[in-house]
Symmetry: C2
Subunit: 140 residues, 2 copies
DNA sequence: CCGAATCCAGAAGGATACTG
DNA sequence: CAGTATCCTTCTGGATTCGG
């Protein structure tokens, strides 16, 4: 019997090979992790500050973030050794978050990306308007 | 009556202010866009190549991507003026994708981020193991 | 003040089949 | 070869509530 579904099979095999590959090669995992919206914002916020920031401070510095996402993202960043968490047991508990040296290292790149976004934003906007105007007038 | 729900209200207001802010300041939109997993991988793939790449070529170069995500992401990148799409109407249709100058510009940053991930991956892994081992032994 | 836990709507994304 | 369209599962992430 000739293999009639080779294309499908190959694709499926590629996917499973990819899944297995991820376990051995965590680079993609790490890339996916730092390619997260909240990770970018938190690391950028802590990087711009240059020093420690409290939980409530982060909430104010990143408008629109929910406690859930903030806590969740901070935990993963702490686990990955990118931020340090310091608890001061005062009457109202005080928790400070700060980038580790490794985290500051990443913050530089994040800042560069953010600067790129700010610099070339108008180019992208222009391209988007151009593209949309062409697509919107098929029969003038 | 004293305002007992100020914290909740402030948070809610912050969210709506954020939503309104996004319309006037698309920088965050753009940052979120380029902080996408598939965007990173596609831009990196095209950047490493240095030249045009066909649809099927991209499928092979990015294992695990579905046609849906590949097409969808390419469309958005084209709309944003980061990649160009060239159709050659031969017997089997041939489509080439290539980074625009703006796209190449971004690819440099993406490559830097990818390199960072590859360089500091072991540090992150070590921190992760350290963190997990501490959390896994509360009662020895 | 900092966070954990639960609920749930909606978006993301994969599998599959079909077109030109 | 290069998509498009559809279904369906998974996961994201916001709202809310409770605890230390």
């Amino acid at each position: 019997m000739a293999p009639t579904t080779t294309a499908i099979q190959r694709r499926s095999e590629a996917r499973h090979a990819y899944d297995a590959f991820l376990k051995e090669c965590p680079t993609n995992q790490l890339l996916a992790r730092i390619s997260d919206k909240w990770v970018s914002l938190i690391v950028a916020a802590l990087g711009e500050r240059g020093g420690p920031l409290r939980y409530s401070g982060l909430t104010r510095k990143i408008p629109g973030v929910s406690q859930k996402m903030l806590t969740q993202t901070l935990r993963s960043l702490e686990r990955d050794g990118l931020v340090s968490r310091t608890v001061t047991a005062s009457v109202p508990v005080r928790v400070d978050y700060e980038l580790t040296p490794l985290g500051y290292n990443l913050a530089c790149l994040m800042t560069a990306v953010k600067d790129w976004a700010e610099t070339h934003m108008d180019d992208v906007l222009a391209a988007r308007a151009e593209h949309d105007s062409k697509a919107a007038v098929p029969t003038p």
